[in-house]
Symmetry: none
Subunit: 184 residues, 4 copies
DNA sequence: ATGTAATCGAGACGGTACGTCACGTCTTGTT
DNA sequence: AACAAGACGTGACGTACCGTCTCGATTACAT
C-alpha cells in the first residue's frame, strides 16, 4: 500500500474521533461506522489503513502518550513512587481508563492485535521500568519478575474493578514490592 | 419471575453448550444464537433467564468450579505454592483460559456483570486466600494488599499475554511475595 | 371432545374480548395471546376449542348478529332499500367494519375457514335475499346473479376502500340493479 | 433517499422472487426473509426501499401487468365482453389470483398501502373502463356506479370464494349490467 | 359425598420471523 | 489513487407470537 497518497487530514480526524468517542460512549457502541461518521470520513478510508477497530484504538492511544523514561536519582523508592502514583491516576482518569479497557477487550480476542499492543506500547513501558530497576537490584535478580511485582497489584485491582485505586494504595503497593526489590 | 416452572433440562443444556463453545470457537463467535442452537433451545429461553451473553458465561463458569478452600499446615510457603501453581495451570488450560478471557471481555464492558463476577466468584476466591494469610501476617498488615501482591504478577502476565506462565514462574512469584509476607 | 365440561364463562369471555380488541387494535395486533390476556384465560383454552384465530373471530361475529329475514310487502324496491342502506351503515360502523375486514383477511388465507364463513354466515344471508327476489323476478332469471348485482357494487367499494358509502349511494345502487331485476 | 445508487439487479431479483413465491407458497409463508433468501439479497436491502411486505407485493404486481386500455368499436357489449371474460380468467389463474388475494389481505390491514394500491393500480384500471363507458351512457349517468355495477358481481364472487367464475358467468353479469347501462 | 378426570389460568418451552444494527466489501462520482 | 458517501450481502441482535407442553387448582360427573 502506497502511503504517500494517504490523507493526513483523514488519519488525524479518525484518531481524534476515536478518542472522543471512547470518552463518550460505552465501548460496544464505538463502532467503525460511528468513528467514520464523527470523523467525516468514509468507512473505506478506515478499512484501507487499519485491519480492525482495535488497531484504530491502539493507534489513537499511541497518538496520545508516548512511553516516558524514568528518572534515576539514585533513590529507587523516590523514583518509583511517581510511577505508581501516575499509574493509579491514569487508571482513574475516564479517558485513559476508557482506552485501556478498550485495549483489554480487544487483546483478549485478537492475538495479532495483542502482539502489536505488547510490542508498541507495553514492552517499551516495561523496558523503561526494567532499566531503572536493573541497576538497583541485587545481581542475578529477575528483572521481569520485579516489574510484575511492582505493577501487578495495581493492574489487577483495576482490571477486576476491585476499587481502592488511590495514591495511598500506590504507595503501599510500592512498599510491599520494595520488600523484595530492596531486601533488608 | 417464578423459577419453579423453570426447566432444569434447558438450564443445564445451555450452560453445557456454553462451555463447549467457549472451547471450540473464538469468543466473538460465541453468540447467543450459537448457544441456543447447540443446546437445542429457543433463544427466548436464554433471554428469559439471563440478561446477556456474559451472564450466561458467568453461570457456566460457576457451574464448573466452586471456589476451593486453602489448607493450613502452618507452613505458609508450602500452603501457597499449590495455589500459585494451580493458577498458572488453570490459565494455561484452554478451557479455563477461554472462560476467563471471556469474562475479562465482558466485565470491561458491563459494570453490572462485573459486580456479579466479583461477588459470586472473585471475592470468595480472594477471601479464601485472605483467610489463610490473615493468621500468618504480622499484625496490622494489609491483607488485601497481600493478596494483590501474591496474585497480581501471575494475573498480569496472563492478562497481557506476556507469556512465561510456568510452575517455575509461580514459585518465583511466590518467593517474591513472601519477601513482604514473611519479612526476614 | 366432550363439550359438556366446557366453561361457558371462558367461552363468553373469549368472544367478548375478541370483539373489544377488534375495535381497539389494528388487526395484526389481535393476537391469540392478546385475546387470552384480555379474557383472563389461558391460551390453551382457546386452542382447545378453536383451530385458529380466524375461527374465534368468526364465532365472535356470529355471537353478535344473526342473519335477519327480509320483509315481503309486495314492493320489491321498498323491501330492498333498507337492506342496502343497512349494508352501508354496517360497513361504515367501526366495529362491524373491523370484524368484516378481519374475516376478509382470514378467508383469503385459510380455505377451510372460508368455507365455514360461507356456510354459517354468508350463504344464509344471501339465501334470505334470494328468497325475497325469487318471487319478484321473471321466471327463468338467475337469482344468484341477481344477488351479486344487488350487493356487488356496495361490497366492492367497501373492500377496495373506494369510499362513497352513503345512503344515497345505496339507493342509487339499488336503482341500477332494479333495471335488471324489474325490467321495464 | 438517493435512488441513483440503487442496485437494479437487487430490485429485479426481489420482485421476481416475490412473484415466484406468491405462486409457490401460502401467503402467510411469504415472509420478507423468504423473499430475501430467494432473491439472494440481504433483508436490509428490502427494508431500505420498501416499508413493508405488502409494498413489495404491490410493486411486483405492477411490474407484471400495466393497466390496459379498452377498445372502442362503437359496440359497447362487444367491447366490454372481453373485459369481463378477462377478469374471470385472471381471477382463475393461480398467479394472478395469488397476487390479488395477497393485496386484499394487505390493504385490509394497512390503509397507507391501500391508498397506494388504489392510486397506482385500481383507479387507473377503473378510469380506463369509465372512459369507455362515458360516451355510451345516457347523459347524467353516474359513471362510477356503472363501473361498480359492471365489476362488482365478479369481484364479489371471487373475494368471497363463491365459485362459479366462468366465461358464461362473465357474459351473464355483463348482460345484467347492460340492463342499466343501455336501457331499452 | 366423594374420588377422579377433564378443564381451567398461567406461563415456560422450541421455534420462526420480525425489523434493526454493524460488519467488511463494493461501487460511484469528486478531489 | 485516495477520498466521502453509502448500497450491498451477511449474520446476529433482542422481541413478539406461534402452537405445544407442563404445572397445580378447580370443577362437575360417576360412583
Amino acid at each position: 500500500m502506497n502511503e504517500s497518497r494517504r490523507s493526513e487530514r483523514a488519519r488525524t480526524a479518525i484518531l481524534t474521533a476515536t478518542g472522543e468517542l471512547i470518552a463518550e460512549l460505552p465501548y460496544p457502541k464505538l463502532t467503525v461506522e460511528a468513528i467514520a461518521a464523527r470523523a467525516g470520513v468514509g468507512k473505506q478510508t478506515i478499512y484501507r489503513w487499519w485491519p480492525s477497530r482495535g488497531a484504530v484504538v491502539l493507534d489513537a492511544m499511541l497518538e496520545r502518550d508516548a512511553p516516558a523514561e524514568l528518572p534515576d536519582t539514585g533513590d529507587l523508592r523516590a523514583d518509583l513512587r511517581p510511577l505508581l502514583r501516575g499509574a493509579v491516576a491514569a487508571l482513574t482518569d475516564p479517558v485513559a481508563d476508557g482506552f485501556l479497557r478498550a485495549m483489554y477487550v480487544e487483546i483478549q480476542q485478537d492475538p495479532a492485535l495483542a502482539r502489536e499492543y505488547r510490542e508498541r506500547l507495553l514492552l517499551p513501558q516495561r523496558a523503561a521500568v526494567a532499566a531503572r530497576l536493573a541497576g538497583a537490584l541485587p545481581p542475578g535478580a529477575d528483572t521481569e519478575l520485579a516489574v510484575d511485582l511492582l505493577l501487578g497489584p495495581v493492574q489487577m485491582r483495576w482490571a477486576l474493578g476491585l476499587g481502592g485505586l488511590t495514591a495511598e494504595y500506590a504507595d503501599a503497593a510500592l512498599e510491599a514490592a520494595l520488600a523484595f526489590l530492596l531486601p533488608e
